[in-house]
């Protein structure tokens, strides 16, 4: 038992101290940039999908630099699944609200008033849709990566 514990700790140390300290500065900056691209999706190139993959790459960078501590990743996995399920459920609720509330009742109708073209708060439902899809794509890609790493760690034990 003790020997097993020692080999696990030796294999999953991650990278050197320099990389870990730099990652503490850079990974939140990448995440903030992903949030910026997602929110300004209706004004400049970007939107839900691009912001989502940039946010996922910040998480992947953090996991790669710290090594895959198996117990920590296993304990945190339920948060990713819950986030993704809630995000796609909210997107469905938004679509059905368009059916119920809007004057022309089609599925996905834009029921929030459209402001002036070029403002930050404009475009009706489009910024809300961007944020929800961004959260969903980020959680999906990160959970794929975490599942792969947990499998590779358990297989080499």
């Amino acid at each position: 038992m003790m020997e097993n514990n020692v080999t696990t700790q030796q294999k999953t140390q991650g990278m050197t101290l320099v990389v870990k300290k730099i990652c503490q500065f850079i990974a939140p900056t990448i995440f903030l940039f992903g949030i910026y691209v997602t929110i300004h999706g209706h004004l400049s190139p970007g939107g839900g999908f691009t912001g989502g993959v940039i946010m996922a790459s910040a998480f992947i960078f953090q996991i790669l630099s710290d090594g895959s501590i198996l117990d920590k990743l296993r304990a945190e996995k339920w948060r990713l699944e819950l986030t993704e399920s809630l995000a796609i459920f909210t997107f469905l609720i938004l679509a059905v609200l368009g059916l119920i509330i809007a004057t022309t009742s089609v599925f996905f109708a834009n029921f929030i008033p459209v402001g002036k073209l070029g403002d930050l708060i404009s475009g009706g439902m489009i910024p809300i849709g961007n944020v929800i899809i961004g959260i969903e794509v980020c959680a999906a890609i990160t959970s794929i990566f975490v599942a792969l790493l947990i499998f590779k760690d358990e297989e080499s034990l």
Partner: protein, 178 residues
């Protein structure tokens, strides 16, 4: 403008030919990265910045996942047998060349020249972009005119994640080892 795109496409063709014939699996994955990044530069030259951002990040994530998969098996020997399969390769290549020329002859008449103004449906979308309210026309198409396709895409991503989590599940195997 067209000459630069031709250079990028020739680079992609050379990279993909090398990637399929490399002896080492790690070299194959790195050459596959060449194909992906040349595609990014092609997207930038064709005035599509949304696609370039997505393609860069997705290519890097794909390379990371592939290298994590092949870390134990990079030095596979490719033994060539010289009895039956060599004739099979030659026959396959000949068949491909014939099919290629037939489809090419059909294709030349229907497609116009590169850069032709073929928009018919997108004119309606561009003219009514004020109704959607977004300055980025691609986002307006994806979330206002064609929001149902975005819902379908989210469903496909969700299903793929469920599939990966089911295939790579590990508990339940420990009882078999005993």
């Amino acid at each position: 403008m067209e000459i630069y795109l031709i250079i990028m496409l020739v680079l992609m063709i050379l990279g993909s030919i090398y990637s399929l014939h490399a002896k080492d699996l790690l070299s194959a994955v790195v050459s596959y990265g060449i194909v992906g990044f040349a595609l990014v530069i092609s997207f930038l030259m064709l005035y599509a910045p949304d696609l370039a951002i997505v393609q860069v990040v997705v290519e890097i994530i794909t390379l990371i996942i592939m290298i994590a998969v092949i870390t134990n098996a990079t030095h596979e020997e490719q033994k060539r047998e010289y009895n039956f399969s060599n004739i099979f390769y030659l026959g396959t290549i000949l068949l491909f060349v014939v099919v290629f020329f037939i489809v090419l002859a059909r294709m030349m008449g229907d497609l116009g020249y590169f850069g032709q103004d073929l928009m018919r449906m997108a004119n309606v979308y561009i003219d009514s972009a004020h109704e959607a309210g977004s300055a980025n026309i691609v986002t307006g198409i994806l979330f206002h005119f064609r929001a149902y396709d975005t819902l379908g895409e989210a469903t496909v991503l969700f299903t793929a994640v469920i599939g990966v989590l089911t295939i790579l599940r590990h508990y339940g195997k420990k009882k078999e080892v005993k």
